[in-house]
Symmetry: C2
Subunit: 218 residues, 2 copies
């Protein structure tokens, strides 16, 4: 049953994955699925799927399972993907440009409207139709345009200050690619993409000693 209690972040992190699998099912014209079938596809337990979904409401039907399209749209609503988001990129370097050039965002309603940088060689340029402005212009821009998300793709030394400014100016979300942890008021949410950390985790796994069994140990 639906209640207002806070949803754990473990659950929230799984929602995009459900959404993706349901989208794939839709693409294959599959109209219904049980938690058991979905659990096999996703390599998780059916129990977890039912528990996760029941945090938000009862979307299934006993004896039938879940209607794929309905569930897809419900998760879309839960994730608030049924509207457009305006984003700015701060830091026009490699990653910043890659994100601007990524065509997958627009069809989901994620629009990058401006890029900010300190580099005079970049300022005034246009990347895939998006103009690069001087960071000095950022305050004015943010105050005159709706900005839902600031994407930080700049050196860690500058990231903290920029993040604090964006928070002060009322930007509700920071997607942080800079390799620092940000401390912001709760009105501004942060999601980190620490690529180096991710790679290090992989390297640990590669080198992990497969624990020798008793037999092999002799």
């Amino acid at each position: 049953m639906y209640t207002d209690r806070k949803i754990s972040s473990a659950v929230i992190k799984r929602l995009p994955r459900y959404y993706r699998y349901l989208g794939d099912l839709l693409d294959h014209d599959i109209t219904r699925i049980s938690s058991k079938e979905l659990s096999e596809k996703m390599s998780i337990t059916a129990s977890q799927i039912r528990q996760d979904l029941n945090n938000f409401g009862g979307f299934g039907q006993q004896g039938y399972g879940y209607n794929v399209e309905y569930l897809y749209n419900e998760i879309k609503k839960i994730l608030s993907l049924d509207r457009t988001y305006h984003m700015i990129v701060v830091g026009g370097g490699n990653i910043g440009q890659a994100l601007v050039n990524y065509t997958g965002f627009e069809k989901r309603g994620f629009v990058i409207t401006a890029i900010f940088d300190v580099n005079p060689r970049l300022i005034g340029m246009t990347i895939r139709g998006v103009e690069v402005y001087d960071v000095d212009k950022m305050e004015e821009y943010v105050k005159n345009n709706k900005v839902d998300v600031g994407i930080l793709t700049l050196p860690r030394t500058a990231a903290r200050e920029v993040a604090q400014n964006l928070a002060d100016w009322g930007v509700p979300g920071i997607w942080n690619f800079s390799h620092v942890d940000l401390h912001l008021p709760p009105t501004t949410k942060v999601e980190n993409v620490h690529l180096t950390d991710s790679l290090m985790t992989l390297l640990y796994k590669i080198n992990e000693q497969p624990k020798p069994t008793e037999k092999e140990n002799k």
Copy 2:
């Protein structure tokens, strides 16, 4: 005390963060730190720090705390960062090129040695000194050169097959930026960077209803 029991992935994911904070302390010429001080900097409990570290050994000293440089180097060893890694990029698009252009990898010993793509306009080009080859040449390349990590920055439709090939050819690590889940034998480890999932998580947080208190509810 150090035992051989399997370390939980929750712990492993925290190691790069410890490593980063200790590196920062070193840069500021701080030679010792207690779990309590570090816990305040990192916004976690001192208990967790001590528990985490004691999965790998006793690195501290009662009454003193931890020697920063020693601990830094121990974590470096645990993460196996004390050697060079050779990586190839499969998919020379935006993100692939951004990773090749990123200068931060080399100083950590992460070297990108080749790029593979299907696009004839890219093949033969050189990006920051790294040549772009036809994917047809990948098998030969992987078999004749040490490749520790395959970085997948290609469309999801092609990702599964490429990953399977790399695994078959003995590549131990896949850093997967493609928006699919990969199922590979345990000899090849996978670390996913699902940018769209990450962004969706942020959007959920932005839109999350701050639960109204009883008072506000009236």
